[in-house]
Symmetry: C2
Subunit: 269 residues, 2 copies
């Protein structure tokens, strides 16, 4: 029935959760929802502060809840690692991180969900530490770009082994700043490289430019790996209004026109 919307689930930690924040004028959930409006519901399943160990526990329940008798999760981002890589209670050993991501990819795939994996991006210790000194965050900074890079590489490896696309934010962020050649990644921070502020708002979470890189990466992954789910290929729910111009329909005919999926297919293609 044409009013059952399938789903595009964004699954991850706070960077995913804040992906519905409009505060700074651009974020990932609305950017994707705009593309898929009338096609798929883009659902935010971000859980601030969680790591891949939590993700592994909750994913089966998320899939169970969203795959109903009549609607399915078609696409899913799996975006963990930023919390795993720090040294607070949130830390997850890189070996376990690898197993967790592998588990999540396989679980989603076995439910016929098209997966896009993302790993941790760059970090900005200068801004983070300033916020810590101001009492705005609980833990002192233990994140390092080199460690984020290791977790990112592991996520990439697991994605590749499972034949699903990986959006390499760590490298894309590096490239955005032009920092690729020979700079020690642990030296990249907002004090010496102000361009990192365009990517990161508080040292960890993303500014609009960071989410734009996420958006471009996701779009490219869908177009390349899952072309049938590229937004232009997904049919709209219900006929577009132009198909109604100059039609004189009584109530019954109108109902048939709107709700009969055969007619609907003809109209939206």
């Amino acid at each position: 029935m044409s009013l059952d919307y399938d789903k595009f689930v964004l699954f991850g930690d706070s960077i995913t959760q804040y992906g519905s924040n409009e505060t700074r004028g651009y974020s990932i959930q609305p950017a994707l929802q705009e593309l898929y409006v009338r096609k798929l519901d883009v659902l935010n399943r971000g859980f601030s502060g969680y790591n891949s160990r939590h993700g592994r526990i909750i994913l089966p329940k998320i899939i169970e809840a969203e795959n109903t008798k009549s609607t399915r999760v078609k696409l899913m981002t799996i975006f963990w690692g930023t919390n795993d890589a720090v040294e607070t209670f949130q830390h997850v050993d890189i070996k376990e991180y690898e197993q967790n991501i592998d588990f999540m990819i396989k679980l989603a795939k076995s439910n016929d969900i098209k997966v896009i994996v993302l790993g941790p991006a760059l970090h900005d210790d200068y801004t983070y530490t300033k916020r810590y000194e101001q009492g705005l965050v609980v833990f002192p900074d233990t994140a390092k770009n080199s460690v984020n890079g290791e977790y990112s590489e592991v996520a990439k490896k697991v994605a590749t082994q499972n034949c699903v696309p990986f959006v390499d934010l760590w490298t894309l962020f590096l490239e955005y700043g032009g920092w690729k050649n020979g700079i020690d990644p642990d030296l990249i921070n907002a004090k010496d490289y102000p361009k990192i502020k365009e990517l990161l708002v508080d040292g960890v979470h993303f500014n609009p430019q960071g989410y734009r890189i996420v958006f471009d990466g996701i779009q490219k992954a869908i177009k390349t790996y899952y072309p049938d789910l590229y937004y232009e290929k997904v049919p709209d729910h219900l006929p577009l209004w132009r198909s109604l111009i100059d039609k004189e329909l009584d109530d019954e005919e109108l109902e048939e026109f709107l709700l009969t999926s055969k007619l609907h297919q003809t109209v939206t293609k």
Copy 2:
């Protein structure tokens, strides 16, 4: 089960559909989703070009699709009238418009959905006509602020009779521009009153300031009429991460902590 998200459905025409557009940096679906993240999914059920006659036909199917065995539509905006009030093929007589809105409110209420009704806002014939002359829209301008006002009053009357809140965009837009006292509303357009451009992007659809007025109106309506569904009162899905600090949990205990709703309730209240 705590990973079944209930829904906040935005139901209407193109002004609702474009309510997921991020193009101009602010829109209504992400603004509401930011508030209700981890609480309710805010779903866009906007259908560009449709009128209340179409809405009446499709609403039963939308409710049927979204009210599943385990999840419910808790809140719904019913926002029609802008297309009904014009003189193209989209026109719906004001008497039928009244019956359609009444039908939709009663249907939603009978499904235990908390309804918020919105009626047509102001129109800007100057900008619209310029776009028509440039070939950017199909029909010449037949909208009038005085007619929008009549449809708005009817929507307000039906909402009041059904004891559900009404967001009076027509009046709120007037007040925003300071045009309340004695100005013929049909004379309000972007040529003589540039402030209307802050509200309307193309004569019909909303700029961020227009959607901000929608947002404020919806928030006020929920707080006043449905305080249990005001975002601060709706529990989060899954415990907040701070409740995990300094807990040493093995895998089984962690799973119980995350997924047992009794524990979850304790943590999020």
